[in-house]
Symmetry: D2
Subunit: 460 residues, 4 copies
Amino acid sequence: MPIRNGAEYIQSLRNRGLKVYLFGKLVEEPVDHPMIRPSINAVAETYDIANEEPEIASVQSSLSGIRVNRFLHIAESASDLVNQNRMQRKLGQLTGTCFQRCVGMDALNSLYSTTFEIDAKYNTIYNKRLIQFIKQMQEENLVIGGAMTDVKGDRSLSPSQQEDPDMFVRVTKRDEKGVYIVGAKAHQTGCINSHWIIVMPTIRLRPEDKDYAIVGAVPANARGITYIYGRQSCDTRSMEGGDLDAGNAKFSGQEAMIIFDNVFIPNELIFMQGEVEFASMLIERFTCYHRRSYVCKTGLGDVLIGAAAAIADYNGIANASHIKDKLVEMTHLNETIFAAGIASSYQSHKTASGNYQNDDMLSNVCKHNVTRFPYEISRIAQDIAGGLMVTMPSEKDFRSPEIGPLLEKYLKGRKGVSTENRVRILRLIENMTLGRNAVGYLSEYMQGAGSPQAQRIQIA
Amino acid sequence: MPIRNGAEYIQSLRNRGLKVYLFGKLVEEPVDHPMIRPSINAVAETYDIANEEPEIASVQSSLSGIRVNRFLHIAESASDLVNQNRMQRKLGQLTGTCFQRCVGMDALNSLYSTTFEIDAKYNTIYNKRLIQFIKQMQEENLVIGGAMTDVKGDRSLSPSQQEDPDMFVRVTKRDEKGVYIVGAKAHQTGCINSHWIIVMPTIRLRPEDKDYAIVGAVPANARGITYIYGRQSCDTRSMEGGDLDAGNAKFSGQEAMIIFDNVFIPNELIFMQGEVEFASMLIERFTCYHRRSYVCKTGLGDVLIGAAAAIADYNGIANASHIKDKLVEMTHLNETIFAAGIASSYQSHKTASGNYQNDDMLSNVCKHNVTRFPYEISRIAQDIAGGLMVTMPSEKDFRSPEIGPLLEKYLKGRKGVSTENRVRILRLIENMTLGRNAVGYLSEYMQGAGSPQAQRIQIA
Amino acid sequence: MPIRNGAEYIQSLRNRGLKVYLFGKLVEEPVDHPMIRPSINAVAETYDIANEEPEIASVQSSLSGIRVNRFLHIAESASDLVNQNRMQRKLGQLTGTCFQRCVGMDALNSLYSTTFEIDAKYNTIYNKRLIQFIKQMQEENLVIGGAMTDVKGDRSLSPSQQEDPDMFVRVTKRDEKGVYIVGAKAHQTGCINSHWIIVMPTIRLRPEDKDYAIVGAVPANARGITYIYGRQSCDTRSMEGGDLDAGNAKFSGQEAMIIFDNVFIPNELIFMQGEVEFASMLIERFTCYHRRSYVCKTGLGDVLIGAAAAIADYNGIANASHIKDKLVEMTHLNETIFAAGIASSYQSHKTASGNYQNDDMLSNVCKHNVTRFPYEISRIAQDIAGGLMVTMPSEKDFRSPEIGPLLEKYLKGRKGVSTENRVRILRLIENMTLGRNAVGYLSEYMQGAGSPQAQRIQIA
Amino acid sequence: MPIRNGAEYIQSLRNRGLKVYLFGKLVEEPVDHPMIRPSINAVAETYDIANEEPEIASVQSSLSGIRVNRFLHIAESASDLVNQNRMQRKLGQLTGTCFQRCVGMDALNSLYSTTFEIDAKYNTIYNKRLIQFIKQMQEENLVIGGAMTDVKGDRSLSPSQQEDPDMFVRVTKRDEKGVYIVGAKAHQTGCINSHWIIVMPTIRLRPEDKDYAIVGAVPANARGITYIYGRQSCDTRSMEGGDLDAGNAKFSGQEAMIIFDNVFIPNELIFMQGEVEFASMLIERFTCYHRRSYVCKTGLGDVLIGAAAAIADYNGIANASHIKDKLVEMTHLNETIFAAGIASSYQSHKTASGNYQNDDMLSNVCKHNVTRFPYEISRIAQDIAGGLMVTMPSEKDFRSPEIGPLLEKYLKGRKGVSTENRVRILRLIENMTLGRNAVGYLSEYMQGAGSPQAQRIQIA
């Protein structure tokens, strides 16, 4: 029976025996950890939206013949890709953070067309296996993480040239049932919140890198996998109790490191093995999808613009012409990002496999603007927010019987606005520009789907 | 006997009985609080530098006739102001944060010339009193905080029009010995680390605002003062133990709220009382000094540029032409800020009182660039740093016997660079662009000495 | 019989008896004037492209039932608008200048839906008349100019408040056959190269502005019309002989002033008369189409990027990493403009009248980027071009027997590149960034379809 | 007897028999050529200002013991360099163009210290000769042009590697009285308006480039020199009669090519010959001075900002908040340039020879901002100016009896402003952003004293 909503999804993550380290200790049940939980809540929204806005977040799949969550759908038209963007922006607005499910969606779609072309050349059956896998995912409505970015070691050396051969994930052993892999994937978005992980190469490969040309699916709790949780700015505020200082107490992103210690992949879940020349096709198609998936950040931009407008109002300066001008500038930049993303989706073409691939140039343009404009949007938001955002006392001070009333008195804005609401909005802006979700809105954003320089190379 | 060095300064702060709240609780001894201490260390550097680089950080004062710390000096030439900038940049390089002593320096200098002009008009003796006070400060080598920014309430109303008359600090009682003040000052830099606080108005005043036209000095531990500590991004990392995750474990800035509950100022420490038309002169001169004092941030810029160059080297890409180009761009922006600040100091003129005032236009230009370029410098630093900066595990994971070795193996950069050093530099960049010192480098920076719009008005 | 190609179009412009002033004198035959001719050549391309690339530049019209030039087509789908953009970019590439026919296309489309809504409210027959007019234009394949921008006088006053009532075009007389109009339209793109002119209001009107609410069509050579030709940077180079110094000798834009001295419009060519409240609908729909029509400038951007790449090659520095990086930046900016324009077209919706209207927000975003990025693209092009672009001697010097050989010797670039080719490319870059076509690429660009501030208001 | 003012200077240029080509023909008397004369007028201002503002534009020289024009002065203090900047900005304000005399000033100063160091190493007497030459120039008050930029040929090859050895100026013959040089210097600012030309190498030299290591002075009308005048945007407007369309009818810059055909330099005017390793010292010191001399452009910026404010007023929108904001932005950018230039001068140090050299880093920062901000200032000026700037009819139309009155009527702005004044300001903005002086304000600006990339290398 498929997972039907966010609550069931959260339930499905329990008792999986994942080996997750955080602050040097094994986490007993990630679902219940206050620092991890907000990232799970964000993924849960991807389930609920499919019920609430089925026209953009769910779709009839010709593979399984059923209506599926769009994150598990193979794009059958340019419209499907445009609707991905709409769904992404909407979820960005709803969560104000990274909802972690795009990587899997983009991985499935790029693998779909790539396996088709490998099969055409080598007479393999990867595409058939993949379809089988996708149908299963659709029927159970599961979350798939895509594990691409290797730790890389010395960046001037290829995988097989590294002093330590494990700097890129590789096959170390083979038997008739499958292969065993070793290595590590860094900054894996939402991996702990996934049911399955698809392992993929991260770099153009050469003939001597054959063992590194491996694509396959493993359950997130496969034997041999260790997760180490990544720190985020202000992450421990989620553990302080209260809901003010976190800024966005309910939602956050998640990045962790995955270490594979001889993890087994059975043959039927292997989608590439040794076809080194197809690594770059897979990566290019994946990044082409994914750089446009960053349209999600315009949803975060909407939240930040709204928060900036709200604090200007609370401060009593909503009508100042320079404030209005700054809000226009934020909107202009945010929509410029959106335009390139959605234009890339509209300009999609059909691949040999029959699914749709978006426009490469515009996808890179979208992502390259994402490495610039959110920083400027954040700068303007901080300008409007004013200094209090970074000098306010803690929630505990506001709740204190001795000084709480003093803060209440002295931090009031214009008449009719509660001090708490003012603080709440300021903490939200802090969260998105300096705090936990700044990681997703700015920094990770900058690097996700390849560095700014990678986009420039692609544009060239 | 004067305080002779940083260690003696730290000692001088003990046992003062300050009423400081943090996380809703009274702090027993701020000097020993792990979250507060780094800010005290930063001020301590202003003492040590006067010993190590006496030519820029100390100076012969004609007032007291002795060699004094430059932070306590009344500028007797344009050179004195230029040397302030040199000292500020140097301290920025040494601490990577806000060393908190500029507000006092700029307050003394602007008060010096303003009191002289009040006296000339009203036959008062404020300037004489001030000189007396300054001499005492110089002889004891104390830290002075300048308390200017009121909490302001509804910004569209003047002090006397506010529903609650305490939204700006005001005199509520007078007797033959002095006055009593009530109100609150927000985001007060380094106030808890100061020995004395000078209270000043923050806004142009009108005749009906007479009670708000008060300038005077009070000891930081005067009866009736309550401090509430401001939160900063990632502030609690200082309380986790270890020295890696804080990014800059030794130094930080400090902003707190000061609440005055009928605090007494004796007559001999009052430097303005009721001369409402001089409030704007004082504020303009103070901001003119202070907007150029932001040259300190070019010292922080130097640290960040150095860190970016280091991580590029550790990643093995120091020679990539796009990396070199980005480092040039960071430097260019940083020096553009510096140029305007120091040009403003060079173009100083003598005031009626005999001290020197820097150029107003160039001071505003300096500060206005400070509200833009550090954000761009930070963006580039994050670009160079790569995603690991915001997805790395905690120090506790690195120290863990189970997974520490795995991290050591998988997070290695180029040969010859220890994983720990790589982590250390990344945490420093995080600290300055998202973490604790981003508050001082970016956000507070943006608002300090008046908002960006305030500078535009001044430029116009 | 319709005009079938560019040559026939040029022929059709002869002997029309237009009253055109240039340098204070009546022009005998504009078609043969060397300063005017390049602008006619540019329009001629809009005819030839319909033959050469019929799939984007011609289309089956349901109105007339025949295949028509896309510039005369009423958009029947979002695809139609997307194809407008493709045609615009292509023509920008082919001519490197403004081909002047978009205003008419956008005017027809905005009038189409607006007249439909006027009719619905007032039971008028404007839409029917307009359809009749469009069919005639399609059958004869004519060029339509749209005359919108009034001279405006004092911009703080409405039309009927102006001291001189003629500051906006207005009806001064009516009889049973039609109306007579008086006034002037400034900077009218391609008006002298048009067969028909559609007059429209330029500003939101109030009830007292009834006489200004007039829309109608007049032949370009109607009695009472005077044209005064606008100067452009370097315009007289077209009159010097030679083809080098003009930079783009074949093509240019055209802007002129039109003065209406009691020009008659017969009833059957009146499409609005007195319905003041519909002026703003017409303007908003027109600007919504037109701000996205600026996608044409990405075609000019393509030319400029190509020219910059060529001169870098001629100078022997094509492989310098900073050159490659600058070309990427130019491309990135150019495609960012394109993305917003084409996304706006893709996101079109059907109006009540049945034709399609593009997305307003993204259209404004497109145009707003057009007021910024071409300046930056030009700056980079000049950076790559080097100083010779603005210090080169004239073509006559290159052709001089005395000094021509000296220039040939001393202005050689890398081996294998002729000096003349080098000069030619430099003059093209000058043409587009400082010279005749900079008017269209930068300055007019900036203001066309409303000022930057107008877009900001719309974005807000 | 020295030249005492601008009028005498202009007189001094007559009858020199210069061989100047323009439009393929020898110019009879450059002084009387309408296209050349405005550039002469600009230089004449450098004489008049020395009379009108002697405190900044003239100075007591210790070399000759007399008060000399500052353009001929060897800097004896940091103040001297600061005053150069003040004079440059003032002259920029007065002329709105390039006044052409800075290259000579910067060449003399850099040669002064470099010859001193050559002499110290090789026991030569270049410095003594140079002092002799400078004294003569000071006594006669002459204009010196500095000829540095060679035509360069293939930029990937050194002087001696070029296929044609004349791509860099070189010594072809020597006798006991002196040397003969051959080659060409491109884009030579004000050369035709100079009395003397100092020839210098333009590139770091290697031992095999010995013949290219030549520095010497020649009279501008030396036998063997040919000048070919460079075209500028809209240059021929100066030849149309009238004074409106030129935008700045009185003043312009000048760039020409100089060809040396065996020009003789006598021994006593040779200041370097064969000391290849000193070429880079000379160039670095020259560019260090010269990149800061671009402060002149802030004077042009002042003119442009003033013009933008005037046209906003004429259009009746001076009080619109977005206009005020744009003027502030222009000012901010302009002063940012100024700050770096003057800071560089203030931070000068004494060289071994005793004269003063400004700060290298800040000089490069100044010039690098000059390659960016004037473009943005121009963009904003065009935004404020509106479309009329590039679509206005010619002066002849305004003067025409038939259409002049129509233009007078229809191009009126707000009450109280004459149409002619409105046109005049618009033509001035066109002149500075697209026309003749855009060459100096933007394009030449960009490249002068080395390309943007050259500054980045120096900053690195």
